[in-house]
Symmetry: C2
Subunit: 584 residues, 2 copies
């Protein structure tokens, strides 16, 4: 055991409240139609990205005129808070003033996550109810006291981690008459202990992913859990949403990494007693298991014990180009069945491959890039159609022998399916893009494009068909509504399992002149979700249910199963103290 | 998808009801003190085992005189059944006569598992209440109908798989006033489908492990789940007890293997709707998760979808001798931290190593074996003390390259810790012994020795100390009671995890002249369990809680956590239909 390792208390990186990410980062468009990425945090920063706008315009068959940009009307009006005097008086007894806020903008930020609907509403529409108060407990005992005060005074609570969910999990539930208090766990971010011998750490639930990477690296370890939101999302949020990390092949998903946790419930502190953390146990009804996917509805996770992994001896990237989607999916299948997968393997379809090419900072115009690409294809990649080819990116982590064996296997199998090695740099770039590309949703929203991603998981046998069906459905929904231009539709296979894959879809459309575009988007996404279910996909691989996907629950669980959820919630939180309105 | 693959309907292998295992198998002792193993199922069968009795007598410092053998008084008296006429009439409507039994011996067998206390009681003592009726549904719809009838007529139900539990999970709960009906799932044993492409199979819950091995092998697959009880235990039982298989390093534990399940609950059929099995999903409250470790208290599992693995290209065994326990544990630690573990790695302490040597069928007397061993040690294993040395056995499964790499790593690290390769045959023999050795408990019971195993899991840092403390505690408890001879005390590390291990303890003592020996055993085991908890061990790694370990629950879960278990049970089964009396 090591002494407690408090996390640096100060955090200089300001986050935006009206758009995704750090305040100093984001796409901008100059009057000449050249896109740049501000700040210095990402590989994309600084250099002009002259091909992006032309590619988007060509793909979506619309003109994105800087002069027509839609200014953000953020912030929307925020209602006065509904405060419970008894509760406020009670918490003032133990919570200092800087750990309480009724500021409208603070409350607004705590009332939503990052769905297009929410982000569109705060900038271009009206936003419904937001929490009446935000509190920032600094210790587990303060969380316990908050829960007791809420119970005593008839207030309800919503836990808040990084605010990055895409399921409307944070949106206040309809019809809630009580005062709603949001419990932001940002101060609960200490690493309480690191146990080098057993490779375990006990970490407070509000710890943010990117801070954990740094802090654990100083100990020579990694958690290995890298969701796309790692810059902002928290340990507690990962548990509550049943999160998945991009390197899960090596490190596992969140349920594989978390070995123990403490939760403040309506009944008090739920925890495992004892002087150690079991590597695995069979102890009957284990209430901790209920917290995975609980989405704030059963209690407030205050800390968790997680597995640590030594920093890999080798980290290597790679990429492979394939002639078409079918062949690349067959490659993924064969690779998975062979076992010994790289830490991460991702496959982008042709549109997404083109998109990533368009994001290359280069001085040539898009036409030149395209013609260069076509020439490259003709000369180096005979038989590759630039309108069909796909790309897989790879991250290898482990000791040198393991990485070497994985690389040999990957490239041998890729070759069998027509794949051609496309170098380490393209692989590295693909992963780095994950974080900067997250800013594009709010950038294009200014230019009348609504775009968002949604995901599913599906067995291998249905994977390719599902991708085709969902894309066709999105296209059809777009056409049937007579929406302008062409939609942006693409998919990526982001996780591999023995029995199937996780697929991400991206859908965007031009909204200028469209009435209630955000509602239209939601309707189309709803249709696509139905197509996903009909095609054998799951309701969610790792985003969760929140409020957006609740209408589909009767399609995935029997009546008895749904009733169990309701009955369990009623039994474990009879006063509905945790009234976020998520499942159950 | 493949068509349904029904399992062979007939089962020629009769099982004992009064002792462990197949009726044709077991240890016998002739008047000359020579032990043999009957039948032809196991490697141990046929040849005399002349060293066993001398070794046991020397180790336990007692004389096991065949003439003093304690005859089994099986069966004990069985009370008349408490039948509910309304229920019986209701089920006669849909359940043929050969699917119902009130036979006293059938009821007796369904009222216990395989703890020493239960097995001692049925042979040498009195047994409490047993189920009043046993039913054998042949389909899920019959299970549903049984549950409805039970609900309508105030009868309670106990599901029954293989009857191999060692937690008194099947023992009727104290104070149950209603008619108790045991639902034996043996007829629900079909493989409903095999999906080669996604490597999945849907299997009824009553399917027995050994049958699954054969049936899936015919498809070119394995489940990879091999608990020590695989000959008799069932898929549903594995889920209900949260089981672990000896090859979990390669195939995972039961929670990693089961992808979906169907459960008949008090509220109806709990299942996942839809036309596929998700490889992984985040769907909020997932009631299926509650079934792992549910021990019959929440419903009757009728089928599950499980992962399949291709039969390994190579299966290889290995063994290593180590100079002492400490060094062998350090080897295991280093091997685990290096990763890429063989499918199974087990370590026996010195006593268990000696015990396995004593089980060798050979024509020399024990003294000769010992002197040969000592000579071998002196000449080949310099520095090895025959009273200290330990042995690790290994199973490698995978493709040739993987097995080769694992072998190279194992033997390289073993050497670093003073280990010496002891050949494939010793490894193979070690694993084969797992199944035949299970018969010894009932054999020695005839000769006034009570012996049983119990297990835990513990972090690496506490593993060796825990082993020492528990052994010392067992010795002390034995001494303090002035019990005859010396106790048989040994341990085995049977599973490796990144953060710790599973440890099995074996304790036996000579009971002739001891009053209520089975109660004495239980008291000592209880003390050892307390020592386990005090030393940082878990309440159970894979056996579960049942009734035996319930008293310890307040030592492992907070009040709120325990309350959640009670509240969930009350909410999900308000009429206490599944009244087995296990946790929750």
């Amino acid at each position: 055991m090591q002494p407690a390792t408090p996390h640096p208390a100060s955090e200089p990186d300001a986050e935006s409240t009206s758009v995704w990410g750090f305040a100093d980062s984001g796409f901008t468009l100059d009057d000449g139609g050249i896109v740049k990425f501000t700040g210095s945090r990402y590989a994309l920063c600084g250099e002009p990205l002259p091909h992006l706008l032309p590619w988007v315009e060509q793909t979506m068959q619309v003109k994105l005129d800087p002069a027509l940009a839609q200014p953000s009307a953020y912030p929307p009006a925020v209602d006065s808070p509904l405060l419970c005097a008894g509760f406020v008086a009670a918490i003032e007894e133990f919570l200092p003033a800087d750990q309480r806020s009724v500021d409208p903008l603070v409350r607004l930020r705590h009332g939503h996550g990052h769905t297009q609907a929410e982000m569109h509403a705060i900038k271009h529409g009206r936003f419904g109810r937001v929490p009446d108060m935000v509190v920032y407990p600094d210790s587990e005992s303060e969380v316990v006291a908050l829960v007791q005060a809420a119970k005593a005074h008839g207030v309800c609570l919503i836990p808040y981690g990084g605010g990055t969910n895409v399921t409307e999990a944070l949106r206040c539930a309809d019809g809630e008459a009580r005062s709603i208090v949001c419990v932001d766990l940002k101060r609960l971010r200490r690493i309480l202990w690191v146990d080098r011998e057993n490779r375990l750490a006990c970490i407070e639930a509000g710890a943010v992913g990117r801070h954990l990477v740094d802090a654990l690296q100083a100990h020579g370890f990694t958690l290995g859990h890298e969701p796309d939101s790692i810059e902002f999302s928290t340990l507690g949020g990962w548990i509550a949403t049943h999160a998945s990390g991009m390197k899960k092949n090596r490190y596992g998903n969140i349920e594989d990494i978390v070995m123990d946790m403490r939760v403040v419930t309506a009944d008090g502190l739920l925890h495992r007693v004892g002087n150690s953390v079991a590597p695995r146990e069979s102890i009957g009804f284990d209430p901790r298991r209920l917290m995975f996917g609980s989405e704030g509805s059963l209690g407030i996770i205050t800390s968790a014990v997680v597995k640590l992994f030594p920093l890999p001896e080798v980290q290597a990237y790679g990429s492979v180009l394939f002639p078409d989607f079918s062949r690349s999916v067959r490659f993924l299948y064969e690779l998975t069945q062979a076992g010994n997968l790289p830490a991460s393997v991702r496959l982008v379809d042709n549109t997404q491959f083109q998109f990533s090419m368009a994001l290359k900072p280069a001085r040539q115009g898009w036409r030149k890039v395209r013609s260069a690409l076509e020439k490259f294809v003709v000369t180096r990649l005979r038989g590759f159609d630039p309108q069909q080819m796909t790309a897989a990116t790879l991250v290898f982590e482990g000791d040198a022998a393991l990485v070497k064996a994985q690389e040999a296997q990957v490239y041998r199998l890729a070759k069998r399916h027509g794949g051609i090695k496309a170098g380490e740099e393209n692989g590295r770039r693909g992963y780095a893009l994950t974080y900067s590309i997250a800013y594009i949703r709010d950038f294009v929203m200014q230019h009348h494009v609504l775009a968002e991603s949604f995901e599913t998981s599906v067995p291998w046998s249905q994977a390719e068909t599902l991708c085709e069906r969902v894309k066709a459905r999105l296209l059809l929904e777009h056409q049937q509504r007579g929406l302008p231009g062409k939609p942006f539709i693409t998919c990526r296979i982001s996780q591999l399992y023995d029995t199937g894959v996780c697929v991400y879809f991206y859908f965007g459309f031009y909204t200028r002149g469209v009435d209630q575009p955000s509602v239209v988007y939601a309707d189309i996404e709803h249709a696509a979700r139905q197509e996903i279910l009909d095609a054998g996909g799951s309701l969610s691989h790792h985003h969760g249910i929140g409020k957006v996907r609740q209408p589909f629950l009767p399609q995935i669980f029997s009546t008895a199963a749904l009733k169990w959820g309701d009955q369990a919630k009623q039994a474990l939180d009879p006063n509905h103290l945790f009234a976020c309105g998520n499942n159950p």
